[in-house]
Symmetry: D2
Subunit: 365 residues, 4 copies
Amino acid sequence: MSGSTFGKIFTVTTWGESHGAGLGAVIDGCPAGLVLTAEDINRALQRRRPGQSALTTPRREADRAVILSGLFDDRTTGTPISVAVYNENQRSKDYGHLKNCYRPAHADFTFDKKYGHRDYRGGGRSSGRETIGRVIGGAVAAKLLSCFGIQTDAYTAATGHITIPPDEVDLSLRDTNALYMPHPLAAEAEAAVLAAAKAGDSMGGIVRCRTLNIPTGLGEPVFRKLDALLGQALFSIGGVKAVEIGIGTGASTCRGSDCNDAFVLRDNRIRTATNHAGGVLGGIADGEPLEVSVHFKPTPSISQPQRTVRTDGTPMELSVTGRHDPVIFPRAVVVVESMVNLVLADLLLEQATARLDNLKKIFPV
Amino acid sequence: MSGSTFGKIFTVTTWGESHGAGLGAVIDGCPAGLVLTAEDINRALQRRRPGQSALTTPRREADRAVILSGLFDDRTTGTPISVAVYNENQRSKDYGHLKNCYRPAHADFTFDKKYGHRDYRGGGRSSGRETIGRVIGGAVAAKLLSCFGIQTDAYTAATGHITIPPDEVDLSLRDTNALYMPHPLAAEAEAAVLAAAKAGDSMGGIVRCRTLNIPTGLGEPVFRKLDALLGQALFSIGGVKAVEIGIGTGASTCRGSDCNDAFVLRDNRIRTATNHAGGVLGGIADGEPLEVSVHFKPTPSISQPQRTVRTDGTPMELSVTGRHDPVIFPRAVVVVESMVNLVLADLLLEQATARLDNLKKIFPV
Amino acid sequence: MSGSTFGKIFTVTTWGESHGAGLGAVIDGCPAGLVLTAEDINRALQRRRPGQSALTTPRREADRAVILSGLFDDRTTGTPISVAVYNENQRSKDYGHLKNCYRPAHADFTFDKKYGHRDYRGGGRSSGRETIGRVIGGAVAAKLLSCFGIQTDAYTAATGHITIPPDEVDLSLRDTNALYMPHPLAAEAEAAVLAAAKAGDSMGGIVRCRTLNIPTGLGEPVFRKLDALLGQALFSIGGVKAVEIGIGTGASTCRGSDCNDAFVLRDNRIRTATNHAGGVLGGIADGEPLEVSVHFKPTPSISQPQRTVRTDGTPMELSVTGRHDPVIFPRAVVVVESMVNLVLADLLLEQATARLDNLKKIFPV
Amino acid sequence: MSGSTFGKIFTVTTWGESHGAGLGAVIDGCPAGLVLTAEDINRALQRRRPGQSALTTPRREADRAVILSGLFDDRTTGTPISVAVYNENQRSKDYGHLKNCYRPAHADFTFDKKYGHRDYRGGGRSSGRETIGRVIGGAVAAKLLSCFGIQTDAYTAATGHITIPPDEVDLSLRDTNALYMPHPLAAEAEAAVLAAAKAGDSMGGIVRCRTLNIPTGLGEPVFRKLDALLGQALFSIGGVKAVEIGIGTGASTCRGSDCNDAFVLRDNRIRTATNHAGGVLGGIADGEPLEVSVHFKPTPSISQPQRTVRTDGTPMELSVTGRHDPVIFPRAVVVVESMVNLVLADLLLEQATARLDNLKKIFPV
């Protein structure tokens, strides 16, 4: 599998740079018969667009999806779904001065060392715009999963030290603020971000994601466990430095007697009394809500002067000016959802092959 | 790629259950010409064996590796390296009473739901013995990486709340205690573990891992980034609930001006002044030490009575007796190393294909 | 790997239908630093275009490649190369009458049974236009291979029973006729094809392909042997019913003493005196020319009336009218080259990882 | 996917050399709940064993399969099925004289060039014994397919020029002779083989294979078409120089009006009147019998003196003495079946994921 392809059965291959002709994705292995329109994808893309608020970059990016293949009469045909978003409004001249230096905490240096030939315009393939392909793929995955009642919602759980108490999350508030923070604390958090930006600085945050109604059984021991694929999917997003599932880092300091989730009979089926596991046991979905937390670092581009070097190694001081969000994580909320949905769609299809009795429902003898 | 195979070029396929004939791994894609003996593998397996201390299970498992193929005159031939560890000393009768119930925080329930036919003896494929295949593969990977000076060392960084101060790690102490804790605090930690065990309980902990001398450039954007593959590799280990890279969860609460690592010229090459990134920028190794932390939950098998259900859903109370370590993480130290080495070996080979100028060194025109 | 992706390291993912917005390919894993322009791709696409002769369909398809990503300053950057060919001139109304019937020897019936939802316009994904993605990928592969002196040339070796004597192939004549037949017999063959077309019928033929200068060693035992991947690659082309390598079907009737190629010392290196093996020994390139032959069936669309059924199973008679080439194979010549080049590019990169001594040339300790 | 792994969902990874400790396979992705015993595998292995006749090597190889994992109470659990066949009776001293020379038409030369370090004993990994892993995997696949009524039978269709008329095949005669030739001509063919052997020579032949009851729809456009995967699977077998599907090489000389299979209504379902396609249309199974022909070259090891070179390039004359079958193809009959079954098992599982309506049968909302 190439580095730009994710998934085994339900696969997405992404392409594109910030300053090329566009970006996009090819989804292959999507079952035939799924109702799908560009609007399904555009709704998701809309959520990763920079907004009108002071928190996000003032670029106007239309970012409209064009579906180039794979549909007939608004249903998937089983063939590859190719979707493109054409770039507009990129101003290459903004980036010329970055040709000969390495921005701290950016991928300039490592791309140069890896490939020996780097597109320095706007981060090239390492730009945040790369996530467009993920969101396209994730939107198709979400549509497929919705046919089975599977629903994923992510949100900002913390902006710097401002954290929503877990039992006060109100998803109806999420889209009312530029931070996608589902709590009245959003106002305070926005003020903190603006203050950081004013100081030429940036902030980190936490995105939390919950999925309901996952069929018990998804996840393939031992290297394609549900949590393992989530680990790959989420750490593949730029700026992620930690991933937690269920109790997360709390696992290392608790006792077994606290951490273990007791099995109980509830609603006439076997459930767990608590959900420290976060929906995964032995790498397999146990039917409880899937709970993941993703820690994002602050935007590396800050206008404060920073020490760095030129490509020839000589020291210099750099102020990264221009249009940069002081926070990465709000626009990553939909990206986290997308990656979770891509993992689940792939494992759902794989689970269809796991049992002889299930196969006999499809291929009658 | 099947669920039991890891890697794209340097691949390992593992097999085996706790109570079958044995466990093992097939390593394929290992370059020809590498000096390798069973002793290289046995040294690693020795580290995941239960010890003689009171902290680990009293089972005597010899766990000697038998190399079945892939070598000639003690060098790899480029063909698959098949390695088996035959089971001894498994006592199936111990587990008969677990046939009709689900142990809390174990995979009994999810395996049953996924496959509809479960080997209930000792956890079957979800047993901790499954890691034998990982350690076999990791040992071969480590031998390959050592030819390029790449060296990985993991250790216990915390036992419950007892945490080693980061600047006091003394690796020479690591193998002097059953917790693989490289610090005098190990004694206190061992006492805590014994107390928990005596109370019929278990404890969690943190394994930290550092790799030196990784060539700049390893890691494939965007889904096979170094950190993404580490995420998959580490979350695939049983009992892991959180993974951090570099600054980890600290990223969400710091400012960009603190978090960014400045580039400097040191030892005549471009380095970073700090290493909050943990050795990865844009998913690609930047030449600094790779730093990961892995949070393990407490052993789910505890002798305290727990609420659970029978397979038919009726409630029951369960005390898991028998030989169980009160801590998972010490024996996982070598497993973490193994998974990191598997990721690095695979990405090293992939990087050999990334640049036209490098290929011309191998295929002269 | 999804059904629309080919390759392990050098990969191509193709998409598109005859009557959608377009067709294209995403090439991933191409080494950075390769000089590449749209013209490299267009030259290849030009060869699969319908010509002006009476033998090929009168549609005017411009089929110009647009490179959407992966290049910077006309060199590959190591990131995915996305290339699109937008459809023009498709007339969907031509195909409405095929909605409710199954054309003999076409994929209408099987797509319907497989997916339950079929794009009946012009064959959809099973159209010959699907090969555009292959030719795009193959052109990039060819450019890469040319850096190592590897050169592939295919041609029509037989049109029906009119066969070029193997020792009379004159490649300089290949592009002088619409059949891509490198021999004066082309005129006679063209007349035969025209006669068949006039009779409402179609003809089969043989495409032969030779590659020079393959480095000894390409091919991965046992399932990714050079000949195995060629088998997959060539049988994946529509209309192929047989593939031969080297002596081909002749192998079953010869004796070992005739068939074995003696090793000799020639030009100061080890060669074979004959090349019945066709360049592959044990699945690995032996440094001799790679020789493959591909047998194509006649175009299934013929204007003679044929028995068939409607989608509901009732019998009917069908004359497939409209613009159809009476021969598939001439436009497949460049497709065969493309698939051979895709196999070789992938195996070249894989071979870079096969030996420890080679890796040390790239990663000095 | 590594070179020793075949399949995407139903996968087999093979390992082992002729003169190591043994050979085997790991099957992963086999659905849970399949009844399986070592006897299922041994029956197949028995068919690739050298027999008692003068046509096959006098080595006594027991070749008994040992199942090491993946079963519980004689049913598959969904976890990897590891199977080993331990080597006995190998006499390494037989091969010492081959250390420094290259046998014509063997893989000695190419393995040396590829890997730089070769196990010269008995061909190592390129030995015919490598097929043991394929037969193990194929036997499990066959057992799975039998649950759906899918039945594959291969046989020798031609020994040199002695060819069975297609309409005279009598499968009940197949196992009555060492050539697995289902026709009274077997006696004449055996005499021809003995005469060739007596002359220090060897012969080629054709293996034909037919599969009944394949569900319509198997095969994934465009690179994982049923015929494409068969091409890979069959050309991966040592000694294969040509593969034909359905009408095969005849396709290149026939007319569309002859070649096209008319659709008809028969037995209340849509069938084809003829089967020139061989069961595959557009790369997808059409429900008709799958028909493939595989051309094998003569055994390369012959006792007649042959020209060759030493590893240093100096010329020499070589007589390959010792125990060698004068024909490869009879023992390959079961290998052809195995590879066809591996392809079909994998595509059967993949087809379970191809349609939304089918998935809803497995995951009710």
